[in-house]
Structure formats: structure tokens, C-alpha cells
């Protein structure tokens, strides 16, 4: 199977008539995703590409289509509102692609969405794809192939790179999830690892992290404590220089945490295979799944 989305996912697109929204809606439909509706305020009653009904509000769209997932392509200043509108309308899975959402907006969106019982993916993420079944977001479908490996990543194009190298090596994927690189986002590494552990078709997991924060370290501990399936990881930013940091608050709250070296060490100590280069993920997977 897969995690979060599959053949039965009924998706609406918020911002379906915008430049990015319309382009990627076509791509998602072409891939086989069930796009059951779209939302653009003021364009309710129209149809996208003569097929997909457009609504003024998410609430109307959900009532008419029984959508259970949404993907958001609205400009950054409206993204917080779009996420809250979707959660309030009862959509269970909210994926926000928009880049540039103010982080203070996310401090309000996150508790709101959680209280409504919805799962948020993103913002500033490429979305996710369950190869051969459904894609939500912008991950190019042709670099993926169905198979037994789950993938979770903080990055966009680096995810494509690793998936591409896996597919070239004939290692397919159950679901590839891009959680996004913003400081505050919804679904995190641990949520995905937990879902992959429970998914009967996933045999191994790839985790791709970056410098900054402590999410990867916590995820590594989760792997040791809660997972039986093998996990391999890569961290980008091994050569990144320390920034010209202003203020002390960052250092006070996290100490020296967040370097690539520290994250790779956490991987090693907790039994997560460490790839030095993206291509090494392939060999590590082959060994782990033998």
C-alpha cells in the first residue's frame, strides 16, 4: 500500500486557477490523482478544463464532493488562511505547497489545524506521491516507480535526486513525502516514520535531512526505540559554513545543535545507515533489504 494518499484519495485544489495551481492540477490529473474539485473565491460555478467543478469556499467544495484531502497553491500572504479554512471545513489531510509563509502565521495555524483533527503537510514542501496510485503536489511522476521503500525528506530537488537514483537502480517506492524545510511545519519525520512502520508494503525507509534544528536527531531515536524496519539517511549541508548569527537566543535555545556532523552521528548511534553521498543511499538500501 502506501501512506497518507492512495487510489481512493479525493483531492481538491485551493488556488486551482492560478499559474502554479492550474499547471500542477493538470499534471496530477494526468498522473491519475482523483481531483474532484477546486476552490477560487469568485469563480464558483465555473469548471477547470471543462471537467473539474470550481467552488467559492472549501466548505462548499467538501459538501459537494466529499473531498478528504486538499492541496494549496495560493500566494504566501493567503496561505495561513487557506490552511485554516480547509481544516475548519473538515478536510482531514491538508498539503500546502506555498513557499514564503511567515513563520509567525504558522505558530497560529499549527495548533488550529491540530485541534480540528486534520493532518498538515508543509508549507513550503513538494507534496507527496504514492507511485502508480496518486500524487498530491509537484513531485515529477516519471522519476518514481512503485516498490517497497518509503521516503521522507525535508528538501525538494534533493528528494528528486535520490528518488531518481533509486528508480535507476530499480528500487521502487511506496510513498515519497516531502515535509518541507520551514522552521515550523505540520507533519514531521517521526509522523512519517511511524506511518511507514505501520504500512505493510513498506520494507525499508529513506530519511533525507538538512542542517538546522533537532528533528533528525529525534527521528533517529524514534527509529531505535519504535521501528523494526531498516532506515537509511542522508544529511545535506556537511560543508555549510556557520552563519553570521545575530543575537544569542538561537544558541541559548538549541546550544550547538543542528550541524550535519551531529545529525550523522545521531543516525549512526541509533542504527540509521548513513549515506555520505546521495548515491550511497542505493547501496545501503540494497544491503538493508537483502
Amino acid at each position: 500500500m502506501s501512506i497518507f494518499i492512495d487510489k481512493s484519495t479525493r483531492l481538491i485544489v485551493q488556488g486551482i486557477t492560478g499559474r502554479d495551481g492550474s499547471f500542477h492540477t493538470k499534471q496530477m490529473i494526468e498522473y491519475g490523482t482523483q481531483v474532484v474539485g477546486g476552490v477560487t473565491p469568485g469563480k464558483g460555478g465555473q469548471k477547470f478544463e471543462d471537467k473539474v467543478p470550481i467552488f467559492n469556499t472549501v466548505a462548499e467544495a467538501v459538501r459537494a464532493t466529499q473531498a478528504n484531502a486538499t492541496v494549496i497553491y495560493v500566494p504566501p500572504m493567503f496561505a495561513a488562511d487557506a490552511m485554516m479554512e480547509a481544516a475548519d471545513a473538515g478536510v482531514r489531510f491538508v498539503v500546502c505547497i506555498t513557499e514564503g509563509v511567515p513563520v509567525l502565521d504558522m505558530t497560529r495555524v499549527n495548533p488550529f489545524v491540530t485541534e480540528k483533527g486534520a493532518r498538515l503537510l508543509g508549507p513550503n514542501c513538494p507534496g507527496l506521491i504514492s507511485p502508480g496510485q496518486s500524487k498530491v503536489g509537484i513531485i515529477p511522476g516519471r522519476i518514481c516507480t512503485p516498490g517497497p521503500v518509503g521516503l521522507v525528506s525535508r528538501s525538494g530537488t534533493l528528494t528528486y535526486e535520490v528518488v531518481y537514483q533509486m528508480t535507476r537502480a530499480k528500487i521502487g517506492q511506496t510513498t515519497c513525502v516531502g515535509i518541507g524545510g520551514d522552521p515550523i511545519n505540520g507533519t514531521n519525520f517521526i509522523d512519517c516514520l511511524d506511518a511507514f512502520e505501520k504500512d505493510p508494503n513498506t520494507e525499508a525507509v529513506v530519511m533525507i535531512g538538512e542542517i538546522g534544528g533537532t528533528d533528525e536527531q529525534e527521528a533517529a531515536r524514534f527509529v531505535r526505540e519504535k521501528m523494526k524496519k531498516p532506515v537509511v539517511g542522508f544529511i545535506a549541508g556537511q560543508t555549510a559554513p556557520p552563519g553570521r548569527r545575530m543575537g544569542h537566543a538561537g544558541a541559548i535555545i538549541s546550544g550547538s545543535a543542528g550541524t550535519a556532523a551531529e545529525k550523522m552521528q545521531a543516525f549512526e548511534e541509533n542504527g540509521v545507515g548513513v549515506a555520505k553521498r546521495p548515491i550511497d543511499v542505493v547501496d545501503l538500501l540494497k544491503r538493508a533489504m537483502r
Binding site: T107, G156, P183, G212, G213, H248
Partner: protein, 380 residues
């Protein structure tokens, strides 16, 4: 976006936080005139977007206007963490009875703004946090309600026992939170928050960092940007919508996406090279962005080879190819170029490059190896 201390102080003053007066000088003579006006011992502080100013010699006392002139002259000749000092803040020296720290930051782990307070403020606060964490009180704030009075009082009681000072500090904390939240901050800090021998509580320093994503809806804050205080190549990159950080190596890198850009730099190092920069051309890249990227990279004399690593998703690789061709026609390259591209419209991109005497590779590792070999003068 970083703003200067004097700008942060102006914002904090608007929120009623007590701060001693101060004026900005760009020459030693101006500093002298300001010191004369204050008629007392002054502190001269470098206004530069880097931490550790005090330890770098960028904060000094001047007892007379003549002293102020010569000390301002010294500080205005300093370069702190690669950034030249162009402005100093001149402010009357205060008598200090105690130094505390208060700061607020958006915390990834709790997904909230978190307040931090410590009675052991001053320049060694990071050491205090590392060695004696019990001297720091942390308090997450629910952004839907803001910092309530009782929360501010809890923090203030951690700093002071005198009731007058506790109340004054609580008010400062609530106003600091407002200044942070209403101006789209990602950090706001007062270090030190001092008490004077007469019992007043006031902010002797102010730091604020604004979330870049807030600037579109806050033109008044965006206008505080001081481009003269930033690295010129980073200014040009921002204007072209590129993310660029200059480094010391000799392999120039042009990549789409921050994660892939970092992974490319790592690979350059893995194969024995040194990256000259981090450069992310972002998602929907038009040819002009690529032209700007090449102009910025080639202006660095250390660059001995240029590597493009493009994985087309939203980015169309034919756009990148067109950008490369246009840039080279405008300004022929003096260093070798290695292009790796794959993904959206790859066939068209390869054709465009071929027609212009260029070639592209599809494998990331091979491309990086080749670029490193060319930069170091060894055969690939």
C-alpha cells in the same frame, strides 16, 4: 532580515520600552559632535550585522568628545566577521547595578515563540546557557493570546526581587513581545537589560531579526534594510531572487533548491574540491536569473570552474540552458563550465546547449568530479 541596533531601539522606544538616547554617526567628526551634545561619557557601538561586536573591539567608552572622535575613527575602520563597520551609535554611558538578559525567538521544537530570561545577562550569556542552564527561564507563548501579565510577572520575578523592578520588567517584557509579534520578528532581544543605582530598569542594547517572509506586508519594516551593511554580491543575488552565500573555494556552484545545493557542495568537497559559494536559483527559474547567477559567480576571482547542477521539476531545464547561452554570449567565460541537468524538458535543453557548442551530463557524481578536476588543474 537583520536590522541595526539603533533601528531596533527606535522600534522598541515606540512600544514604550525605556532606552537611553542615542544618535548615529558615520564619521569621527559626527561622533565627536554627538558626544559634545550629550556632555558626558559616551559609549560608541559599531552598527554591523554580526554578533560578538564587543569582543571584536566594536564597543568602547569615550570620556571626552576628542576621545569619541578618535575611538569612532578606530571603530569605523574595523571589519567584523567580514563586514566593514560603516556606522556607529553614540549613546551616553549608563551606571549599571545589574545586567539581565531577555529574548524571544520562534522555536522549532515547541512550534511557538519562546521567551527566555536570565539574571546573568551580558556578553557571556551563551556560556551561562551552556554551563548553568538553570539560570535561564524559558516560557513558550501561545501566539493566539500573546504574553499575558502573569506570564510576564513569572519571568520578571526570575530576574528581580524588588517589586518596583519586577513590575517595570514585566511591562517591558509584554511590550517586547508586542514589538516582536507586530513587526514580524523571528528574534527580539535585550542584552543587557540593566538596573541603575537609582533602581530604574532599562534596555542598553536591542537586537531584532525580521522574518524575510513578512516584508511583503510590512513596507515600513522592509525600508529599514541597510544595503551598505551587506555583502555586495549577496545584495545583487537578492535583487535577482537568488539565494547566495559566498565561500572561499574555487568551484562555483549554480543549483536549483537549497537541499540539492548543499548536497552538491558536500559532493564537491567529497571529491577533493572546495565550493566557492552556495547559490540556489529557486523554483521557477527564468533565463535572466541564470544570467545574474553567472555574473555574480564570475565576479569572484577565486572561481576556477563553474558547475551547474539542475534537477528540473518546477524548474524547466530549457530555461536554464537558454540562460547559460545568453550569459555566455554577453560575457564569454574565462573558466571552464560543467553542466549537469536532468528532468523537465531535458531533451530541449540538451539541444539548445549542443547548438551553442556546449554539452550536458546527466550524472551528478560524474559532473562534480569533472568540475573539481578542472578547478584543481588535474585531469578528470
Amino acid at each position: 532580515m537583520n536590522i541595526h541596533e539603533y533601528q531596533a531601539k527606535e522600534i522598541f522606544r515606540k512600544y514604550g520600552i525605556p532606552i537611553p538616547p542615542g544618535e548615529v554617526a558615520t564619521t569621527p567628526e559626527e561622533a565627536e559632535a554627538i558626544a559634545r551634545k550629550f556632555g558626558t561619557t559616551v559609549v560608541i557601538k559599531a552598527q554591523v550585522h554580526a554578533g560578538g561586536r564587543g569582543k571584536a573591539g566594536g564597543v568602547k567608552l569615550a570620556k571626552t568628545p576628542e576621545d569619541a572622535k578618535s575611538i569612532a575613527g578606530q571603530i569605523l575602520r574595523l571589519t567584523i566577521k567580514g563586514l566593514p563597520v560603516k556606522k556607529v551609535l553614540v549613546t551616553p554611558a549608563a551606571d549599571i547595578a545589574s545586567e539581565a538578559y531577555v529574548g524571544i525567538i520562534v522555536d522549532r521544537a515547541s512550534k511557538r515563540p519562546v521567551f527566555m530570561a536570565s539574571p546573568a545577562g551580558g556578553i557571556d550569556i551563551e556560556e551561562v546557557a551552556a554551563k548553568t542552564p538553570d539560570k535561564i527561564l524559558r516560557r513558550p507563548v501561545d501566539p493566539r493570546y500573546g504574553l499575558q501579565l502573569y506570564e510576564a510577572m513569572q519571568l520578571a520575578f526570575f530576574l528581580y526581587s524588588d517589586m518596583k523592578q519586577v513590575r517595570a520588567a514585566a511591562k517591558i517584557l509584554q511590550q517586547l513581545y508586542k514589538a516582536f509579534f507586530e513587526n514580524g520578528g523571528s528574534l527580539a532581544e535585550i542584552n543587557p537589560l540593566v538596573t541603575t543605582p537609582t533602581g530604574d530598569v532599562m534596555a542598553l542594547d536591542a537586537k531584532m531579526v525580521i522574518d524575510d517572509n513578512e516584508l511583503d506586508r510590512r513596507p515600513d519594516i522592509a525600508a529599514l534594510r541597510d544595503e551598505s551593511a551587506e555583502d555586495p554580491s549577496e545584495v545583487e543575488a537578492r535583487k535577482a531572487n537568488l539565494t547566495f552565500i559566498k565561500l572561499d573555494g574555487n568551484v562555483g556552484c549554480v543549483v536549483n533548491g537549497a537541499g540539492l545545493a548543499m548536497a552538491t557542495m558536500d559532493l564537491v568537497k567529497y571529491y577533493g574540491g572546495e565550493p566557492a559559494n552556495f547559490l540556489d536559483i529557486g523554483g521557477s527559474s527564468n533565463p535572466e536569473k541564470v544570467v545574474a547567477a553567472l555574473r555574480i559567480i564570475t565576479s569572484d576571482p577565486n572561481v576556477k570552474a563553474i558547475l551547474f547542477n539542475i534537477f528540473g521539476g518546477i524548474t524547466r531545464t530549457d530555461d536554464v540552458a537558454n540562460g547559460i547561452v545568453t550569459a555566455i554570449k554577453q560575457n564569454p567565460l574565462k573558466v571552464p563550465l560543467v553542466i549537469r541537468l536532468t528532468g523537465t524538458n531535458e531533451e530541449i535543453a540538451v539541444k539548445i546547449l549542443k547548438e551553442n557548442g556546449l554539452s550536458a551530463m546527466t550524472d551528478m557524481d560524474e559532473a562534480v568530479k569533472k568540475a573539481v578536476a578542472l578547478a584543481t588543474g588535474k585531469a578528470a
